[in-house]
């Protein structure tokens, strides 16, 4: 919205601030001036002043016009606001123009005035000057008058060509399927809850939204009916939305117009039109529905307690040790300037000290003086609310007005007493997981909360249900994500498509399952890895990424209290069979990981394999974090022995390790496979076999190990592994 400072100043002369200062003062009081533009000199060498670009919050529809902002300025500077000047030339007597309100719950007030023998001509003078400075289109004196009043004091009006009307005005609901051609030239089909201004025969205007084409003012118009009314906000909003018509009028009405402004606006428009000729006929027709008046202009007064003002707002920079700067006098001044009527309940009563029963607990509005008397001072006001401020309904609304006009930045910076901080139950576990993943080289990421139908079908856990959106952002986001994996795949693909080939990412986030009646959210972790992972003595470069993911999962589990973790090669369909696995905690799945299934890699045109893991964080966080009890370090030398065995390819490490552990040698502190070797030529290792280098570390806490013990354990291990089908290649003994 645009405001001309020159126009504004006609309502509040002698503002003791230049336009820039005025802009700042308004902005700091919630009447935000977003831009100040110098309009240069006028023809008479006077300044055109400035144009303010305003940003008015939706609750302050009363300030979306020059007079409303002038009222704010008058309040800020404690100056009088000039009344709106409405002097009409005497009207010729005539019978009352017939107006009937058939929908009194939707039309609270309707004013109409007949103007005869008007001259339709281009606007001149002030209207023309102001409109050109505002960039407002000029149409004709009649239409411009309506716009001028809207910009000036904010109430929408409408002018009908009286000669196009058949009979009097009826404000009613539209008939089903009723047609109405509007000012914009479009023909609308109305619904039975659209409110229309009609004559006896047909709809003339979509009430509060837009006038009708057939009854509009034309250069030939001779007689005019000026309408200014009050319409129900919800009704106007409904029609405005249904017909996709957002007009200045609907904007104002749907936020609650000023019930008492209708007759004033009607006067102002009539006065402007008659300035070019013609005369008023008969009296102003003014039908007000008492029930609506009671809810708007004549609302019951509300109580405002000075104590409550101070209780909510606290300390100002100008408080003295004994008195708040927010005095009853100041509150009275501010609210009166804003249009409220304040009736002080000044009942200076004095009560004797002994009348206080339970020590110094005083009812609101009482205070104790030095002599120990308590008095009801000028604490309570009964406040009558202005008709243009439907946003003011409660005491707190008035308290806000006091704070706003006083100026937020004149309040002190105080601090409440601090509370005690209680850690969120999963905070420590989340932080531990995050820190560990960062240390392992995975970077933190955030992906979309949504998934496509296709991805949802592929990645959702069977039987858990998915949640479609009513109004999805796009087809790619038609459901809530049932897994973090599709988002991870997207992020890895994003990198690969930009030639970023080495990527390690993780995401901790919520996934959504269940039904649209009952959505379940649970925390999940996804890992994504692509790019070269160097081979290790145990893993080929081809397999190394899968084992890095396995290592990450094991590492995360190691943060928590020990629980049996096992692995199977069964995995969901989005993982490549044979190159993927499921981690089981206590026998139930906690994570899936491995290479993305090859069909998906092809479908997504990924240039290199990508590796994914998905871990159920809820299950992980159900475990307590590990509490470490340190063991004493042995004072005795550890003995390391390396074995090299040949095994058939079918022999799994788990079988070997279990067999050795079954020997139950307490001194065997560590058993590690250190190298796996296959000979493609089948010379040093037979075909379909592998050589395994195994390291055993023996140590006792209470003695130096004797050679005989070691030899026994060594030979037991060799026997065990031989029985498993292994062949010893070499056994090295090192001290």
């Amino acid at each position: 919205m645009k405001i001309l400072t020159n126009w504004l100043r006609t309502y509040v002369p002698n503002i003791p601030a230049d336009d820039h200062q005025l802009a700042d003062d308004l902005t700091l009081r919630g009447i935000a001036v977003e831009g100040v533009h110098d309009l240069g000199p006028a023809a008479d060498d006077q300044s055109n002043g400035h144009l303010f670009e305003m940003d008015i919050t939706t609750n302050r529809v009363d300030a979306m016009n020059h007079y409303g902002i002038a009222r704010e300025a008058a309040t800020i500077y404690n100056l009088p606001l000039l009344p709106l000047h409405t002097e009409l030339p005497a009207s010729t007597p005539a019978p009352a123009f017939p107006v009937r309100i058939d929908a009194p719950h939707l039309c609270g007030r309707f004013t109409a005035r007949v103007l005869r023998n008007v001259t339709i001509a281009p606007s001149a003078g002030l209207i023309s000057d102001y409109f050109s400075l505002l960039g407002q289109k000029q149409i004709s004196n009649a239409v411009d008058a309506s716009n001028f009043v809207l910009l000036g004091m904010g109430h929408p009006t409408h002018a009908f060509d009286l000669d196009k009307l058949q009979g009097g005005i009826v404000v009613r609901l539209a008939h089903q399927g009723e047609k109405l051609k509007l000012l914009d030239g479009t023909e609308r089909t109305l619904e039975p809850d659209d409110l229309v201004v009609a004559d006896e025969v047909k709809a003339l205007a979509l009430a509060g939204v837009m006038g009708g084409y057939d009854s509009m003012i034309t250069p030939e118009t001779k007689n005019i009916l000026v309408e200014a009314a009050w319409f129900d906000p919800a009704s106007i909003r409904r029609s405005s939305r249904r017909h996709l018509l957002h007009t200045d009028a609907s904007h104002r009405f749907e936020r609650g117009a000023d019930f008492n402004a209708a007759p004033i606006a009607n006067h102002l428009v009539s006065q402007l039109i008659l300035a070019s000729g013609g005369h008023a006929e008969g009296d102003l027709i003014d039908i007000a529905i008492p029930a609506t008046a009671a809810k708007t202009a004549s609302r019951p007064s509300i109580n405002l307690s000075v104590t409550q003002v101070q209780r909510h707002l606290g300390t100002t920079l100008e408080d003295t040790p004994t008195q708040s700067a927010l005095t009853p006098e100041l509150i009275y001044q501010y609210l009166t300037a804003l249009g409220c009527t304040l009736i002080p309940t000044r009942l200076a009563v004095q009560l004797e000290h002994e009348m206080i029963a339970d020590g110094p607990v005083f009812p609101p509005g009482y205070f104790s003086d030095h002599a120990g008397h308590i008095s009801l001072v000028n604490d309570l006001f009964a406040v009558q609310l202005p008709s243009w401020r439907l946003d003011l309904e409660r005491e707190i609304d008035l308290i806000e007005e006091v704070a706003r006009v006083y100026g937020y930045n004149r309040f002190a910076n105080t601090l409440p007493t601090p509370g005690i901080v209680i850690a969120h139950p999963t905070a420590a576990a989340e932080a531990a997981v995050r820190t560990r993943l960062l240390a392992l080289g995975f970077s933190e990421s955030i992906s979309s909360t949504f998934a496509s139908q296709q991805d949802s079908d592929l990645f959702a856990t069977a039987g858990q249900g998915t949640i479609p959106m009513e109004n999805p952002l796009s087809d790619e986001a038609s459901l809530l994500r049932p897994s973090l994996v599709p988002g991870m795949v997207t992020m890895l693909a994003h990198n690969l498509n930009r030639d970023v080939k080495d990527v390690r990412l993780f995401e901790q986030g919520q996934i959504f399952t269940g039904t649209t009646d009952q959505v379940s959210e649970s925390a999940q972790l996804s890992l994504g890895l692509t790019g070269a992972v160097p081979a290790t003595p145990l893993h080929t470069a081809h397999d190394a990424p899968i084992f890095e993911l396995k290592g990450a999962i094991e590492s995360l589990l190691s943060l928590f209290a020990p629980a049996p973790l096992t692995f199977t090669t069964e995995a969901p369909v989005w993982l490549q069979p044979g190159r993927s696995a499921t981690a089981l905690l206590d026998g139930t799945p906690i994570a899936h990981f491995g290479e993305l299934v090859h069909t998906q890699r092809e479908a997504r045109k990924l240039r290199q394999p990508i590796y994914l893991a998905q871990l159920d964080l809820a299950k992980l966080y159900a475990l307590p974090l590990k509490k470490v009890t340190a063991r004493d370090l042995s004072r005795f030398q550890a003995v390391e022995r390396d074995f090299s065995f040949t095994f058939p390819d079918s022999m799994q490490w788990h079988t070997i390790a279990t067999a050795i552990h079954t020997l139950n040698i307490p001194e065997l502190q560590r058993l590690t496979p250190t190298e796996i070797f296959r000979d493609p030529k089948g010379k040093s290792v037979p075909p379909s076999h592998y050589a395994l280098l195994l390291k055993c570390v023996f140590q006792s806490n209470d003695r130096t190990l004797r050679e005989e013990e070691l030899t026994t354990w060594w030979s037991n291990i060799i026997t065990t592994l031989t029985n498993l089908g292994g062949t010893i290649r070499a056994g090295e003994f090192t001290m």
Binding site: T27, G30, N59, A234, R237, R311, H312, L313, G314, T315, R394, I396, D397, E400, A403, R404, Y408, F411, N413, T414, L415, P416, P418, G419, I420, V421, H424, R434, L438, A439, G441, S443, E444, S445, I446, S447, S448, T449, P468, M469, E470, N471, L473, L480, T490, M491, H494, N495, R498, V500, D502, V503, R504, G509, F512, T516, D517, V519, E521, G528
Partner: protein, 368 residues
Amino acid sequence: MSDDIVLDEFGYDEPTLDKLFETLKKEVISSSENYSQEAFKLHWLGRKQGRLKVLSEAWLKSAPPEARKPLGIRFNQLKQQIEAALEAPATTTRAAQAGASIDITLPGTTRAPGIPHPLLKTMQEIVAVFHHLGYSTNLGPQVESDFYNFEALNFPPNHPARDTQDTLVIASQQSRPSRDRLLMRTHTSPVQIRTMIDQPPPVRIVIPGKVHRNDAADATHSPIFHQVEGLCVDTNITFSDLKGTLDHAMKALFGSAVKTRFFPSFFPFTEPSADVQISCIFCNGKGCRKCKHSGWIELLGCGMVDPAVFAAIDEQRAAQGKSPAYNPEKITGFAFGMGVERIAMIQHGISDIGHFYSGDMRFLEQFA
């Protein structure tokens, strides 16, 4: 070891011995430069295998008696030289060593660490500031009911925010009562409601979280974004407490030189409501491109909790069989909220909000 110089091949005349010992002296010097001090000492003076010992024994043994004295004198001189080299400042040897060493200008190697997400890092920093002020973290679901997201927060029934143009709604909600309809929370404020229904005052909570709105994505808007909200409810909480708290928090986040400025604003769930600006952290309030030459940057919204919110809380507490605890005559509070993306973008000069959700390593690596 000592097959290098065999004395027999020479003679015991003075010039020959001079020449020989000159060679040995050079050897001492060069070895003192190339060996570490310890290795040098061992090499020459080792008790069993030291070069001085080996040479002197071999030579003195084989030398004719008349040559033993000059030999002995020369060995003594050599020994003094070795000892002198040992006592010489280490710098000469270290400097010499350094000359033939690594090319330190080659890039260092490291196991690449994972990178904390800049957005989540900022979020944690904000949360930490409020932890220090006595606020506990509380979290809530991202799929919320209309009641928690709008109704209890005093949004009128046909408020524009409730429209599907602004809010992402779960499918198949039409047949449900309006307050039960499920949607993606548009702010983290529902957690304030949940907390107050759960527990009586005093409440001091900070709520970080992901929220969603039906917004078109552009450089500064995303339908997915993050907020940190806070709520402080107690007896005698005032607007000046709100001001003081946020002024402190902004100084803690952006430095003690930062100033705050409060403007009236409007939110359905607070009254009075305010927008807060901080003095531009780039130009210290002088005016620059980043603050659009205003000297100020708008950062958060806040206000005193609207009594209507307290009323809705107590109503819901009653429905759950809990005693009323939020009588607006006794209880006041304030709430505030800020967009984490905006703050992180300001902190790091990020021009496109989309980088936060792309997982693009080229973006993330800058924060390593």
